[in-house]
């Protein structure tokens, strides 16, 4: 939710794994990982749109479900929004 309101400087593509449902992030080599730190980071805008298109192709190929872009801090490689941090790390409880 919050991610939408934050300026998309650097973005990663995230989705849920088709079989297990776990939150996954797209690596530069096109594989998907549970570790957000390994995700491909690109500047928002055109590069972001291209990353999303690649992720959507994985959705179409039934590897992942409903990919979206999320804002990530390029230094810490942590998602900016609490929701995405919880997705990346698991429940806080």
């Amino acid at each position: 939710m919050a991610a939408r309101k934050i300026k998309f400087d650097w973005v990663a593509a995230t989705a849920n794994d088709l079989k297990g449902g776990e939150a996954v992030f797209r690596r530069a080599d096109g594989s998907w990982t549970r570790a957000v730190a390994e995700a491909e980071l690109v500047p928002g805008g055109e590069a972001g749109a291209a990353l999303l298109a690649r992720a959507q192709a994985d959705h179409a190929a039934n590897r992942v479900v409903e990919p979206v872009l999320i804002a990530v801090d390029p230094t810490t490689r942590r998602p900016l929004s609490l929701r995405e941090r919880i997705r990346a790390d698991g429940p806080t409880v």
Binding site: K5, L18, G20, G21, E22, R83, I86, P91, V93
Partner: protein, 552 residues
Amino acid sequence: MYRYDQFDRSFVAARVAEFRDQVQRRLSGELTEDQFKPLRLMNGVYLQLHAYMLRIAIPYGVLSGRQLRKLAHIGRVYDRSSGHFTTRQNLQFNWVRLADIPDILSELAEVEMHAIQTSGNCIRNVTADHFAGAAADETVDPRPYAELLRQWSSLHPEFTFLPRKFKLAVTGAAVDRAAIQVHDIGLEVKRNERGEIGFAVYVGGGQGRTPMIAKKLRDFLPERDLLAYCEAILRVYNLEGRRDNKYKARIKILVHEKGLEEIAASVEAEFAARPVATANLGEAEIARIAAYFAPPKFASLPARSSVLDAAQAKDSALQRFVARNVSAHKAPGYGVVTVSLKPIGGIPGDATSDQMDALADIAERWSFDELRVSHAQNIVLPHVRLDDLPQVHAALAAAGLATPNDGLVTDIIACPGLDYCALANARSIPVAQEISQRFADLDRQNAIGELKLKISGCINACGHHHVGHIGILGVDRQGEEFYQITLGGAEGADCAIGELVGPGFAADKITDAVETLVETYLKLRRDPGERFLDAYRRVGLGPFQEALYADA
């Protein structure tokens, strides 16, 4: 309890086989997500933040030991050895894999359970008073009617694509533990002066973003007309309910926009037009279903148990438990035991597989093999002999299930919130945990008395915050979790929607705010018998606002 007949068995088996095939086709890529999503939702499968979630229907909250043991087993094999009981008397598994779900559904079918109609715009699991068939204050056992409604609404071809979801609740006691006035249809089973059975029928209640208290359509609908009348309501809604705007699609909006008179006229016209012979409930059918819910063979016992009295005199933990978690039973010498799933600092509504097994054992041994799930996310052992309470208490304590806080400030309802739920704006569980820890002291809790605190992580209100004496709603304020407080909500016969007290609180301030409210109440209450809700109704928001925002 109700047992599946051949028809129930074959339709559930057919649905499992059908869904197994659909999952297979999804995993092989034959079905796209767009094609699959409505199919999985019809079978109770959601995709949440971390995993698929499977919501299992527990019809009107009634479980046998065998069924609960199966849920424990599923938790162990397919989830993380636990399950989450919800405010709709259902159970959710938060960590299941799509590929495993057909096997889970097969296992459930073995114990006459399923996940059909636990999602989607259809008639959802019918809920009922969790003390049904047991409570001393009950007029009529609501379970046979809940079961009739379950059968009628299961796969009802006309009501598979309603404008929005539709929830029914039934109570058989005037105090209303089933929160019928915040349901799409709420039914109170009662008797008239002649001793005949009928229903007060309420329509158009609900929570969510536009909370509404239901309006009464009929004060005494004859028993035989139950299904025909509900069908008439559903028909009017199906035809006239809004389909253009998801937020205005529930029947409460239709009732609100048209007004009671017009809705009543439409429903009565539809009802009058029914083909009488087929739509009436026959006496034989009612009796056939009611027979499944015949009371167990209670022993004839004195109302007081000297065994229990003696044990309580020696054991203060038992004494606290009995005082708080045991309610009056209709049969002398028995009690209704509420097993709190709200240990201090725990996750409201969660039970481990081991705890479920323990509860199944306890129910089989000491409660005629019956258990109930309450909408307050607790478990009920409906028929326990007072003489057996010391042993039951010891067995519960051994399983970590003897928290004596039924109805107290730490008996918090909380939805999964942002820790699990894809729709959430803020976390609910950590807020519940912190408040629970703050008020951990039992003497303090008992001094405060009955206080229903309910937390939702978004405006969908699964945590029932609108009807909490203190309600907490999580919102997202520019990327930060914020919590709004409402006061004075109530869910029973004196149903009320809570009022917003003022600006919200940051996550690290919300527990302090609750404490301020409680301290304010303690200072202004007339005597310890005046509950938080009563005091609020007497004094209104003012003193609470002053206390909360004094420094602002």
